[in-house]
C-alpha cells in the first residue's frame, strides 16, 4: 500500500518561531526532520488503514491520526523555530499491503514502535533542554498509542516498565 503523504506546511503560530528558546543546532534539525518523516509515514498508514478497521477501532484510530497530525505540526514548528527547513513530503510511503483490520493494527503497532525507538535515539542528542522536553511529549503520546494498539491486538499492553520501542 502506498499513499501520498498528508500535510506539507502546518499552520505555524508566528509567535512560536519568534520566541522559541535558545538556538536549536543544525544537528537538531536533522533529528527533527528524521522524526517528521516517520510521523508522516504513520499518518499515511492511519489514513489508508482506518477504512479497513471495525467501527470502534476505527474511531480510536481516527483520534490517533489526529494526534499524529498534531505531532507533525509540532515538529514543523520546532524546525521553523530553528530556522531550519522541513523535508518535503514524500510522494508515497512504503507501508506494505495490509488487507484486513488485524494486519492494519499490526502495521500501526510496528510504525508507532519505530517512532518510539527513533525518539529515544534522538532525545539525548537534542538541545536545548526545552526542545528535548517538547519532543518527549510526542514520545509519551506515541507510547500511549502502542499501549492501546496492543490491547486491541489482545496483547499485553505493558510488556515492560521501560518503553523502548523494541518490546
Amino acid at each position: 500500500m502506498a499513499l501520498a503523504g498528508c500535510g506539507s506546511n502546518a499552520h505555524l503560530p508566528k509567535h512560536a518561531a519568534k520566541t522559541a528558546p535558545a538556538p536549536i543546532r543544525r544537528r537538531d534539525v536533522q533529528l527533527l526532520n528524521a522524526a517528521l518523516y516517520l510521523e508522516r509515514r504513520t499518518v499515511a498508514a492511519y489514513t489508508a488503514g482506518i477504512p479497513l478497521l471495525p467501527r470502534p477501532q476505527a474511531k480510536a484510530a481516527k483520534q490517533f491520526l489526529n494526534e499524529e497530525l498534531q505531532h507533525t505540526g509540532e515538529l514543523l514548528a520546532l524546525i521553523k523555530a530553528a530556522k531550519g527547513v522541513a523535508i518535503p513530503r514524500a510522494a508515497s510511503y512504503d507501508i506494505g499491503h495490509p488487507r484486513d483490520g488485524n494486519q492494519v493494527l499490526a502495521l500501526l503497532h510496528e510504525l508507532e514502535s519505530a517512532q518510539i525507538a527513533g525518539y529515544l535515539r534522538a532525545i539525548p542528542e537534542l538541545s536545548p533542554g526545552p526542545v528535548r522536553a517538547a519532543v518527549a511529549t510526542i514520545l509519551a503520546n506515541d507510547a500511549q498509542h502502542v499501549c492501546i494498539l496492543r490491547l486491541e491486538q489482545g496483547e499485553n499492553p505493558l510488556p515492560s516498565a521501560f518503553v523502548t520501542g523494541r518490546e
Binding site: 498528508c6 519568534k18 489526529n66 497530525l69 505531532h71 523555530a81 509519551a140
Partner: protein, 206 residues
C-alpha cells in the same frame, strides 16, 4: 496542507486554554521560561537532586498503588488490571535508585503512613486522600492524577538533565507512566479511547 494539519494549531490553543498538552509552540506562546520555571521554584540544581525528585514521586506512586490495590474499592478485574502498573512503578524505583547511588545521592524517604502519603499528595496538589476514598472512581482518579504529576516531573527533568543515560532512562519511564495514564483512563471511561488518550502532546501536570 490538509484540513487536519490546519486544525492542529487550533487544537493546541484549546489545549493551552485547558492547561494541558502544551507543546514547543505552546511553551513559546506561554513563554518557555515561565512554562518551565514556574514548575521549578526551589528546584533541584544538580543531577542527583533531579533524580531524587523523580524518585520521590515514584515512591509516592508505589505507595498509592499499594493502598488502592489492597483496598476493597476495586472489583477483581480492576485489581488485576492495576497489578502490572504497580510492578512497573516498583521497577522505576529500582532503576532510579540504582542511578542515584551511582551519582552518590541519598534515597529520599518513602511514605510509610497514610498521613505521610496524604501530606505528599497535598503538597503535589493531587486530589483525593488515601483512607478517605469512597468508591472505585475516587481511587482511579487519585492514581490518574498521581501518574500525571509523575509525567510532569519527567517533562521538567528532561529539560534540565545533562547525562545522556539519565535522559534516556527518564524518557523511557515518562513514556511508561503515560501508558499508565491511558490504561487508567480506559478503566475510568469504560474503554472509551477518546477520554483515555485525550492529548496529542503528553506533558502531565507540574
Amino acid at each position: 496542507m490538509t484540513s487536519m494539519e490546519r486544525g492542529q494549531s487550533t487544537t493546541r490553543r484549546q489545549l493551552l486554554a485547558g492547561g494541558a498538552g502544551v507543546g514547543m509552540a505552546g511553551m513559546a506562546l506561554l513563554g518557555s521560561a515561565s512554562a518551565l520555571a514556574a514548575t521549578t521554584k526551589g528546584a533541584p540544581t544538580t543531577e542527583p537532586q533531579r533524580i531524587q525528585r523523580l524518585l520521590s514521586v515514584e515512591l509516592l506512586l508505589v505507595y498509592c498503588y499499594q493502598q488502592v490495590i489492597a483496598s476493597s474499592l476495586l472489583r477483581p478485574a480492576q485489581r488485576r488490571a492495576l497489578l502490572p502498573l504497580r510492578a512497573n512503578e516498583e521497577a522505576h524505583v529500582r532503576a532510579l535508585d540504582r542511578a542515584l547511588k551511582q551519582l552518590g545521592g541519598a534515597q529520599p524517604p518513602a511514605p510509610h503512613t497514610l498521613a505521610e502519603a496524604n501530606q505528599d499528595l497535598s503538597h503535589r496538589k493531587i486530589g483525593g486522600r488515601l483512607g478517605e476514598l469512597k468508591n472505585t472512581k475516587d481511587a482511579l482518579y487519585l492514581l490518574l492524577s498521581a501518574e500525571r504529576v509523575a509525567v510532569g516531573a519527567y517533562f521538567v527533568a528532561l529539560a534540565k538533565l545533562e547525562s545522556r543515560s539519565l535522559i534516556t532512562l527518564s524518557a523511557e519511564i515518562m513514556a511508561n507512566d503515560a501508558q499508565h495514564e491511558a490504561l487508567i483512563g480506559e478503566l475510568l471511561n469504560n474503554g472509551k479511547t477518546a477520554e483515555a488518550v485525550p492529548y496529542g502532546l503528553v506533558q502531565g501536570v507540574q
